[in-house]
């Protein structure tokens, strides 16, 4: 029998029992819908994290003073091997892979001006910082090399700081006070949003590290050195290169530990990515249980259907249907039913995801892959749970089936 005929016969008998078909499909609809929504939430969280990691900057490598150990006892971070401006300069000068390097000096302080005052973090960085973080300006410009050399009192505001001190206003050219030192605002950065751990990346101001070290904090220690490569392919090589340059710069003997850490964004991201992946799997697994229950519903109805239509099976066999024809008919019926339920479930899953993200503000991602997997899964459910009833139908004795009332 032709495939189209089979599907026609299956659709006919499905349509003959509309109410029952609908209720049976409901199980699959809910199952597939739930899987889609749950995976959408999980993938939404993952993509949010990915976005945040990308917003940290492209191909960024972070060098931090590492922990050192003595006789197995950790002495904690930054107890050893301080980072220096020389390290940053050496990396910039000697590295083949790295295109931008910036030391970072932090200082937590108050900025006064405009609408009042705002407590934030001053980052002392070099001109490369903007390239490393891939951060565009909303107003004005970033400071340049000569301003860095001359320790100029200039500052670029993060979006949050600008919003709080100068709401709906371009503050470029105005002056703010930092530790009683007047500083000119030369630019405002575009917003980057929160990090995965909830820190506001825009609650920050940037100044030349020379200015921060000498005029604004008197604090000269470098907390980290950021570097970036033009291509993400070069990141691992650049990491190793930086490690060797740092060892040389610090005169670390051959068998001693590094005393600093060189990490890239992926290292930073892996932990959080891993957590959300587990969460996605868990959500999908829980949702799959309802799909399983839906499948059992299909099996139940197909068994009832085989019993109820025993005479029909007898008639079909008497006029020449092979056992295989009968089996295929029932199998196609259960597949059509579960696939149709799956399709409706996909629709409901999509609608549900978008409603959910509107109501809760969660990020949800629905991908074609999820849809394909959900549909394949529902067809699989149809085959798996339809097989036993279909085989039962095919094995009927035509004489007894014809006599069945």
């Amino acid at each position: 029998m032709k495939g189209s005929t089979l599907i026609k016969i299956a659709s006919q008998s499905i349509l003959k029992n509309k109410m029952r078909t609908m209720l049976t499909m409901l199980g699959i609809v809910i199952g597939v819908g739930a899987v889609i929504v749950m995976v959408a939430i999980g993938q939404g969280a993952q993509s949010q994290i990915q976005d945040q990691i990308n917003s940290l900057g492209t191909n960024m490598i972070v060098v931090t003073p590492g922990s050192s150990r003595q006789g197995g006892v950790s002495r904690g971070a930054q107890t050893y091997n301080r980072l220096t401006i020389k390290d940053a300069e050496k990396i910039k000068r000697e590295s083949l892979f790295v295109s931008a390097v910036s030391p970072v000096v932090f200082s937590r302080t108050q900025v006064i001006g405009g609408q009042g005052n705002w407590r934030t973090t001053i980052n002392g960085v070099s001109t490369d910082y903007q390239i490393i973080r891939n951060w565009d300006l909303k107003y004005g410009r970033f400071f340049d090399q000569s301003e860095l050399r001359q320790m100029r009192r200039v500052m670029v505001l993060g979006h949050t700081v600008a919003e709080n001190l100068f709401p709906e206003e371009d503050p470029v050219g105005l002056t703010v006070q930092v530790r009683n030192v007047p500083v000119e605002i030369i630019g405002v950065l575009e917003p980057k949003g929160q990090t995965a751990s909830g820190n506001d990346q825009d609650d920050v101001v940037f100044a030349p590290y020379t200015t921060v070290q000498t005029r604004l904090s008197g604090w000269s220690r470098i907390f980290q050195i950021l570097a970036s490569t033009p291509s993400s392919r070069d990141v691992p090589a650049a990491q190793e290169e930086i490690r060797l340059i740092m060892r040389e710069s610090h005169g670390i003997s051959r068998f001693a530990e590094d005393g600093f850490t060189v990490r890239n964004q992926n290292d930073l991201a892996e932990t959080e990515q891993g957590t959300t992946e587990v969460m996605t799997m868990l959500l999908a697994a829980i949702a799959s249980i309802s799909l399983l229950v839906g499948g059992i519903g299909i099996m139940n109805i197909m068994l009832v259907s085989v019993t109820e239509r025993t005479r029909e099976i007898g008639i079909r066999m008497a006029i020449g249907a092979r056992g295989r024809d009968v089996m295929t008919q029932f199998l196609v019926e259960s597949i059509v039913m579960s696939l149709l339920g799956g399709l409706i479930g996909v629709g409901i899953g999509f609608a549900g995801s978008s409603i959910l993200s509107q109501l809760t503000g969660w990020n949800t991602v629905t991908s074609p892959t999820t849809v394909m997997i959900a549909l394949a899964f529902s067809a699989g459910v149809g085959i798996f749970f339809g097989f036993y009833p279909a085989r039962k139908a095919a094995a009927l004795n035509p004489i007894q089936a014809l006599r069945h009332e």
Partner: protein, 252 residues
């Protein structure tokens, strides 16, 4: 006159085992049917009629004996092969019509053609329409069984049996569920088909029905006790005694 044997059984037996007792439903049936014959198989219930019909209809296997149908030896065939033979060589008409509910007359008649794997591409719809026109239901094709009278339903069933152009038409009490008037209509239809050359086997316990055929075979306790040729009477209402009714000899 050329007589071609369309089916032949030799020493056909069927033994059912029910617990420890064996029931000999058929005990050596030798039966030969020519193409174009119209035969009634009669007998009381328990005589083996149904068992014989099931075996002739390829729904069941005999315990022993041989059975030839239209040149095919039906020993040792698989379930699938029997299904194909039912499809191509046998047309069933049942007492209870056995149409698929909520399925139009046309779709019911198309059904055997859908399971046909021997023939190449045929116009399924057109063939089914022709079969329905042949039984006089050309104007009822889209009706579902519950929209048709008993007589019309049985005619749909006959069209379904005819549509594959089978070697024999096997009718099991075809008028059992019908009133006298429609019984006559259905029997007349069988006689017309017979006149057109169809081989018809009627299983019945009504002598009125049997008398419409050319040959009556009576079974008793699984054996053929009577096998006689008669002059068929034209199907008629038993309540109406019409002597002038002419009997057409139906030899071809």
């Amino acid at each position: 006159m050329h007589h071609e044997t369309v089916m032949r059984t030799e020493g056909l037996t069927k033994v059912y085992t029910m617990g420890k007792t064996e029931v000999h439903a058929l005990q050596g049936i030798n039966l030969s049917v020519d193409r174009g014959e119209m035969i009634a198989i009669v007998g009381a219930s328990g005589s083996g009629k149904s068992t014989l019909m099931n075996i002739i209809g390829c729904l069941d296997y005999p315990t022993s004996g041989t059975y030839h149908l239209d040149g095919v030896q039906l020993q040792n065939l698989s379930r699938n092969q029997l299904a194909d033979i039912r499809n191509s060589k046998i047309g069933f008409v049942f007492q209870g019509f056995n149409l698929l509910a909520r399925t139009s007359a046309l779709e019911n008649v198309e059904l055997p053609l859908l399971y046909d794997r021997s023939r190449q591409k045929i116009a399924i719809r057109k063939t089914a329409e022709e079969a329905l026109e042949r039984v006089g239901l050309g104007d009822r094709m889209d009706h579902e069984p519950n929209e048709l009278s008993g007589g019309q339903q049985q005619r749909v069933a006959i069209a379904r049996a005819l549509v594959t152009n089978p070697s024999i038409l096997l009718a099991d009490e075809p008028t059992g569920n019908l009133d006298t008037k429609t019984s006559v209509e259905v029997l007349t239809l069988f006689q017309e088909l017979h006149d057109q050359g169809m081989t018809v086997l009627l299983i019945t316990h009504e002598s009125d029905v049997a008398n419409c055929t050319q040959r009556i075979i009576e079974l008793r306790d699984g054996k053929i006790v009577v096998d006689k040729r008669i002059e068929p009477v034209k199907a008629h209402m038993t309540t109406v005694t019409d002597e002038s009714e002419e009997t057409t000899p139906a030899f071809t």
